[in-house]
């Protein structure tokens, strides 16, 4: 049985008469130890999908199953790294991680917990900044804290919700390498949501495209055959990498093209005729009501010659 199963999930927002369906008929299975990347356009409902897995929101149709159990709310078995760090600014790095650890392992001794926290802060190379508050850290460092916090919970699934999209290119590359290293060391099940094909292919075992919303749905899963450990330098010249990348991007572009082809647009001009400002106006109003195109008996049509 798969660790995480998403079965025919749909999710929409808004009132019944003007419902806006964001996700439509999603199916996904993630096995233990797998690294899955979901890639899609911004605004296509990626974060909504993550909220569904996390249990912050619930699907309108279908179900999300974790180890065969229906997800009824957030839990310590799913660690999350949010896009915008979500650290508490009044707590130091250590305290931010400690908040999670104290909550999940209350039975441990203080010393045990301290060691555990320090181990994970060390894993993301933040030991020197352990007692700084988030405002003293750079964006990349903050995201590392967020990763450490999620990992320290020792979740069964690590959810990464566009963890690197707010960072500059160089920091992002660095952190990608680190996430790669940590995930290999820890042998975690990871679901990464991203909008960067390179990132997805570099990190994941398989990449699943999410078509553009509304009514976004998951495409076929594309396995990444590049052997691990993958290094950024090698990957750039790897044939499989280019192949997979082309496949992913092609799929996403085609899915959009189809949508475009099916779209018809009906433009309705306002039922008004522009006012002639040269006509003399009465000083005290006597407002003229706008002339309607539909009320005019004749209409002049200008055409380009």
């Amino acid at each position: 049985m798969a660790l995480l199963e998403i079965k025919n999930v749909s999710k929409g927002f808004g009132p019944a008469n003007a419902r806006f369906e964001v996700l439509h008929d999603l199916n996904l299975e993630v096995e233990t130890g797998e690294f899955v990347a979901i890639i899609g356009y911004s605004g296509s409902g990626k974060t909504t999908l993550m909220s569904l897995i996390l249990g912050l929101q619930f699907p309108d149709e279908g179900e999300v199953l974790l180890k065969g159990q229906k997800v009824t709310g957030p839990g310590p078995d799913r660690g999350i790294v949010f896009q915008n760090y979500s650290l508490l600014p009044w707590l130091t790095v250590f305290e931010n991680v400690a908040l999670a650890v104290d909550q999940i392992f209350p039975q441990w001794s203080v010393e045990q917990r301290r060691k555990h926290i320090e181990r994970y802060i060390g894993m993301v190379n933040l030991t020197p900044a352990m007692h700084k508050v988030p405002s003293e850290l750079s964006g990349g460092m903050r995201q590392r804290v967020s990763v450490a916090r999620a990992l320290a919970m020792q979740p069964e699934i690590l959810l990464l919700d566009e963890p690197l999209s707010a960072l500059d290119a160089l920091t992002r590359a660095n952190l990608q390498d680190e996430i790669n290293r940590i995930c290999q060391e820890e042998k975690k099940t990871v679901i990464l949501i991203t909008n960067d094909p390179d990132e997805a292919i570099l990190l994941a075992d398989r990449v699943i495209p999410l078509t553009a919303g509304p009514r976004a749905t998951l495409g076929p899963s594309i396995p990444v055959m590049i052997p691990r450990p993958r290094s950024r330098a090698d990957v750039n010249h790897n044939y499989d990498f280019k192949q997979t990348r082309t496949e992913v991007i092609d799929y996403l572009l085609k899915a959009t093209d189809k949508r475009k082809a099916a779209m018809t647009v009906k433009l309705v001009l306002p039922d008004l005729i522009p006012e002639d400002l040269d006509l003399p106006r009465h000083p005290f109003g006597q407002k003229r009501r706008p002339r309607r195109r539909s009320e005019e008996k004749r209409e002049t049509v200008e055409t380009a010659v």
Binding site: P74, S86, L88, W90, L99, M153
Partner: protein, 294 residues
């Protein structure tokens, strides 16, 4: 622009100019005393004092100083219930303010939290709060006197140590100074970013833990802004409360000296109230800036 030595003293010189202009205006409109010696019908010598000027009864700056000297140079003296050194009066007023203010914070902060957390609570109580908020302290005090008319706590000598007027004064200070704390706390709670709440949800923090680990720290900066504004109002109200209840303190002294036609002391009291209020506000903003996060 070049920094001349004079420019460096701007912070000192410019305020002094302001004070000097104000003093000059005051001296101009203040009444001048004219003493004429004469002889009355019985042949006894008498001194006639006449005051002239734009505002004849207003004491001039020098007169004010002469008459207030005693209160300032012996700030802790106690010559009678309503004749004490100015620091002593200030201390009495501050003690009363502190009590009323403490009550205001203890009641106002939880109300603010409820308002911020619950939409239903807001809908029930917000109209009431908006109506009660602008009511003047002078209007609350009589109600307080009626409300607490039965309060009487005796001390060991059989004297009333805490009576209806004390309770009414505290009530007035608390009710008037509560609103900024209530409203700012509510705004602060509503302004907590969804991210923080998500963290609490994902970690499955209990209700109390969420309150103490997330909600309160996230609201602290707003709460302290409310606390500072509340303290300002509490200090404003003290004068009114003391005037009407006749309690010893800066406000009580002011009103008594007005009734005793000793106008110089009114100015002394006004300046004291202003200076103390300014110091309190500075202190609170120091505390406030310590709690600014992110």
């Amino acid at each position: 622009m070049k920094e001349t030595p004079l420019k460096k003293l701007d912070w000192l010189l410019l305020p002094i100019i302001g004070v000097a202009v104000c003093l000059a205006l005051w001296a101009m409109i203040a009444g001048k005393e004219k003493r004429t010696e004469g002889v009355d019908d019985f042949g006894d010598k008498i001194v006639k004092v006449q005051r002239t000027g734009i505002s004849a009864d207003l004491p001039s700056p020098t007169e004010t100083w002469d008459k207030s000297k005693l209160y300032i140079t012996q700030p802790l003296a106690k010559r009678g219930e309503l004749d004490q050194g100015i620091l002593r009066f200030t201390w009495l007023s501050l003690a009363l303010v502190a009590q009323g203010y403490a009550i205001a914070l203890l009641i106002g902060t939880p109300i603010g939290f409820f308002l911020g957390l619950s939409k239903t609570f807001t809908k029930i109580f917000d109209p009431l709060i908006q109506v009660l908020r602008p009511v003047s302290p002078l209007a609350w005090l009589p109600l307080g006197l009626v409300l607490f008319s039965g309060v009487k706590v005796m001390d060991t000598q059989g004297k009333v140590s805490f009576g209806a007027s004390d309770a009414a004064a505290l009530f007035t200070i608390a009710v008037c100074s509560m609103w900024p704390t209530v409203l700012n706390t509510a705004v602060g709670v509503r302004a907590i970013p969804q991210d923080y709440l998500n963290v609490a949800k994902v970690l499955k923090l209990s209700k109390t833990k969420t309150l103490f680990k997330v909600l309160i720290p996230a609201t602290l900066p707003y709460m302290f802004t409310g606390f500072r504004l509340s303290l300002g109002i509490a200090w404003l109200v003290i004068v009114a409360a003391e005037m009407l209840t006749g309690k010893p303190g800066v406000g009580g002294f002011l009103w008594q000296q007005y009734n005793a036609l000793s106008y110089a002391h009114i100015i002394l009291c006004i300046l004291t109230i202003g200076v103390v209020g300014f110091i309190l506000d500075r202190l609170m903003s120091l505390v406030e800036s310590r709690f600014k996060t992110a």
